[in-house]
């Protein structure tokens, strides 16, 4: 359908088009450019909104999780209380279990303790996985490991670093990649059209189409280069942030160790508070 429309245009329009002024200076195109610029501004605003939304949702999710957790714990405690109500020590089975496990907390608060242990395990696993990720990333200084990641993994990693602005930046890079793909598709279509012998066209028109296709490819290539540059900067930023983070942690731990050293060494006051002072006993 598209091709038919284009052919119809190419057949009927050339005489009309030839009499028009240069389309680069046309009012419509200028308006279109303005619209595109407006759209870009709007996109930026949308991105900012997205970042804010991410921030608010984060807090909302956290509160929701806490409330949910609290509710679950409440339920489990109630269940445990009910089971304790049912405990009948005149029954020999219950009595036996009471004698065997009476000194353990699990016996009285069975389900809550299980839930607590589960949560502990989950948190420890989370922290461990985060540390593994960081270490794996830091092994390669060029950040090639970072490039190998999936999109979801990358997002998870960036969220670990608490960098909303970097997420917005990544979306920008992705948009540029998309632009490149669109330009390439259009160029391919034009080239196919130019090489299609079944369509009736003058060789000059075919040459024009090929030239337009080449221009599109060049434009797409520009976008690709831009995207690559952005990606490189992005990687460098992330690396710098990771480096700073590690440096901060090292500094903090160093200061804490120094404080430990200070507390361990007993303070000496003045000249006479020394082991080298000889104390004489007079009997």
């Amino acid at each position: 359908m598209k091709r038919v429309l284009i052919i119809l245009l190419m057949v009927f329009a050339p005489h009309v088009i030839a009499q028009l002024p240069d389309p680069g200076n046309a009012v419509i195109i200028a308006k279109l450019k303005a619209i595109i610029a407006q759209n870009q501004i709007r996109n930026m605003q949308l991105r900012k909104q997205l970042v804010e939304a991410l921030r608010t949702t984060k807090t909302a999710i956290n509160t929701f999780k806490e409330l949910k957790q609290f509710h679950e714990y409440q339920k489990r405690v109630l269940r445990d209380i009910k089971s304790l109500d049912k405990l009948n020590l005149l029954n020999t089975n219950y009595l036996e279990s009471f004698i065997l496990n009476g000194d353990r907390l699990d016996f009285y608060l069975n389900s809550t303790s299980r839930k607590f242990m589960d949560d502990l395990y989950k948190t420890s696993r989370l922290s461990r996985s985060g540390n593994d990720l960081l270490e794996a990333f830091l092994k390669d200084e060029s950040g090639s490991e970072f490039n190998k990641m999936d999109d979801q993994e990358m997002l998870a990693f960036i969220r670990q670093l608490d960098t909303e602005s970097s997420i917005a930046r990544m979306y920008n890079v992705k948009d540029m990649d998309k632009m490149f793909a669109i330009f390439l598709e259009q160029a391919k279509e034009l080239r196919d059209l130019a090489n299609d012998s079944s369509v009736d066209m003058t060789p000059a028109e075919r040459a024009k189409l090929l030239v337009i296709a080449n221009e599109m490819i060049l434009k797409g290539h520009e976008y690709q280069v831009k995207a690559q540059q952005e990606m490189q900067e992005f990687n460098q930023d992330i690396l710098g942030r990771v480096y700073q983070r590690r440096q901060n942690e090292n500094l903090g731990s160093a200061i804490l160790e120094y404080s430990k050293f200070e507390t361990s060494v007993q303070k000496k006051l003045g000249f006479f508070d020394s082991d080298l002072i000889r104390r004489e006993n007079i009997k």
Partner: protein
């Protein structure tokens, strides 16, 4: 400053010189006893003329003090150190703990990459914190150095101060020296109390900073807290360095500058007072020889 207290060279040097000073003091003691007796005999007014029991008591007391010098000085000094260590509530390391935790909590929070003004604020903020730490450390260092060396020098000068008190017009020397000795040992008590007080104040401020840091309201609240901290540190610095002045209020009569002037003036007075009667008598004899009047 445990480096000084663990330095064997300083202590060996001090002990060797102290032995030398005690030797000099023994020689001076013999001279002092003679001068003291002469003074008590030749003194003009009857009120000041010495009671011989008093004289003997003073000579015996100075002798015993000189012999047991190394024992009683060390005992007094260590007693006051024990008092100071009982009052020791905490070290300055609380501040280091808070700063360390702040650094650790700051990791992974991004603010500086977008806003240059915030970046500058943060830079100034950390510089001010480091300046606070530097001031606190410098005050303690200066104080401990001064105390260590003044105490050592006082301990060395002790035997001579004891013996010199036998000479006329040096009666106050021993008392003054003792006042100084106790006061310098007492500095550490005041030092410990002040450090505990300021440590609490500063730890509160640092905890506020930590809370601001965690809630990312760092740029708006922190300057006031940091300025407060700076004021506290300056007051800490001044109060620690001026500890000798406080002790002069608590223990009157301790004046390290006055010691030297007193020794100078006292020696002149002593020379005049001891030699003047002898000179007068010599003058009388010479006059009598000239006029051929016999002396009764």
């Amino acid at each position: 400053m445990n480096v000084l207290q663990e330095n064997e060279f300083i202590y060996n040097f001090v002990y060797v010189t102290l032995d030398k000073f005690i030797l000099i003091a023994r020689v001076l003691m013999a001279l002092g006893v003679l001068v003291y007796l002469l003074y008590s005999i030749f003194h003009n007014t009857r009120e000041d003329r010495a009671d011989y029991r008093k004289v003997l008591f003073k000579i015996a007391f100075t002798f015993i003090a000189l012999v047991t010098y190394k024992w009683w000085t060390v005992e007094i000094a260590t007693l006051i150190i024990g008092i100071a260590k009982n009052l020791d509530a905490g070290n300055l390391s609380n501040i280091y703990k808070v700063i360390g935790n702040a650094f650790k909590s700051r990791s992974g929070i991004e603010t500086s990459l977008i806003k240059p003004d915030v970046m500058m604020m943060e830079l100034i903020y950390w510089l001010l914190l480091m300046a606070c730490l530097f001031f606190v450390k410098a005050a303690t260092l200066i104080f401990e150095l001064i105390q260590f060396f003044i105490q050592a020098i006082l301990w060395l000068l002790g035997p001579i101060a004891i013996v010199i008190s036998l000479f006329p017009n040096f009666k106050d020397a021993w008392v003054r020296w003792f006042n100084n000795f106790v006061a310098v040992a007492f500095w550490s008590v005041i030092y410990i109390i002040l450090v505990a007080f300021f440590n609490n104040l500063m730890a509160q401020e640092f905890e506020q900073l930590l809370a601001a840091n965690a809630s990312l309201n760092l740029t708006f609240d922190s300057p006031i807290i940091v300025i407060e901290l700076l004021v506290y540190t300056v007051v800490f610095f001044v109060s620690i360095v001026f500890i000798p002045w406080y002790t002069s209020i608590i223990i009157p009569g301790q004046n390290l500058g006055g010691m030297a002037s007193m020794i100078g003036a006292g020696s002149l007075m002593m020379v005049s007072k001891v030699i003047a009667p002898i000179a007068r008598k010599l003058q009388k004899t010479s006059m009598s020889q000239k006029t051929n009047i016999p002396i009764k």
